[in-house]
Subunit: 187 residues, 2 copies
DNA sequence: CCAGTCGTTCAACAAGCGTTGAATTGACCA
DNA sequence: TGGTCAATTCAACGCTTGTTGAACGACTGG
């Protein structure tokens, strides 16, 4: 039944990391225990420590990711949202890499810093060229809206948003993102 | 130094509740311990149990709140955002009652249910009369945007949004909320 | 066939947790 | 003054957690 894997350091390391990603994402940092990760990976808890030294080490390894955003230079403003929304919806989806980070951010400063870094190094630069001014603010508003939708959908589990298909969400968010990217500000 | 309070059940109960609110709000459910709440309240841990029976009981007592939204019937759509945004910004602010609930929602199902209840019993009914259709969806999008801003500002601590004054935030959010409330949907 | 290496497990620790029941303290009334 | 009862504390329990060092066991090169 329980298939005994051959001895393979790199392999088991990957299995542990997979289980850790899953649990950190679903239950957050505190509720995820070394023991539960080890059990899910079919491995002794001490082995987890051996490979990742500490629980924080395991988390950092599990949360390390490279967020790739499409190049948006030259995309007409009216089309930007249509390109952007599907990408972000996937990144923030239940299987995406950002939700675990957000869940952990409640109690883990390292997770907070990682999210801030992703915003200022990836999101803001990607959106900057499309905006007339105040690029940071505009990007932050778009980003925070996406965070909110992700929280409402996947953490709180608000029925209306849980039930809403991605396409419908896109239709709603599209004009708003366009507004945030292009609307001139006087104040 | 450490002022010894007179024996007063109702009083100490309130002190404990205050400490609990503070800690649940700042550190979330898991990181808040009976012992730390008791210490902050200058009281024995057993006393906390005596008054609130269990940690979940303490949390429920600390998280119980009545969110009061202004009556919006008859307010012209263009003015709605101007009325609504300050109220929501305060409710979601660092001293408001909703942030603790959201922090706890990461790991506490009761907190999730409470947030869902607040949405469906308070927010959606308040916004419903202002919308031509799909009231739940429209309210959910506004609510999730506010959640996102709160998370970005007070949980993650995104510098751009932390530094943004409430008035500026209002100017940004106003047109978007108006759009969500009034924009006709064809799809 | 034996030694050594490396993946892996065993067993235990110290600390912190929620929770408990009995003991202690202090205030009030007879 | 002494008794009563509520408010509060003491001391401990059983459990889970992260973490550790030593032991085990399978494969590999000599």
């Amino acid at each position: 039944m329980n298939s005994v894997r051959p001895r393979d350091a790199e392999g088991t390391k990957a299995v542990i990391l997979g289980a850790a990603r899953l649990q950190f994402g679903q239950h957050g940092f505190d509720r995820t225990t070394i023991r539960s990760v080890a059990a899910a990976a079919g491995v002794d808890p001490a082995l987890v420590m051996h490979y990742f030294r500490t629980k924080n080490g395991l988390f950092e390894a599990a949360a390390t990711l490279d967020v790739q955003l499409p190049d948006l230079t030259g995309v007409p403003p009216g089309r930007v949202a249509a390109v952007l929304v599907p990408v972000f919806v996937k990144l923030w989806g239940p299987d995406g890499p950002l939700l675990p980070l957000l869940r952990a951010a409640t109690s883990n400063p390292a997770a907070r810093d990682m999210l801030i870094a992703i915003f200022s190094e990836k999101v803001a630069p990607a959106l900057g060229p499309l905006t007339p001014d105040r690029a940071q603010e505009r990007a932050a508003l778009i980003g925070s809206h996406l965070i909110g939708v992700a929280v409402a959908r996947h953490i709180i589990g608000l029925p209306v948003l849980e039930a809403m298909p991605d396409e419908t969400l896109m239709v709603w968010l599209g004009p708003v993102f366009e507004h945030y990217l292009t609307e001139p500000r006087t104040a």
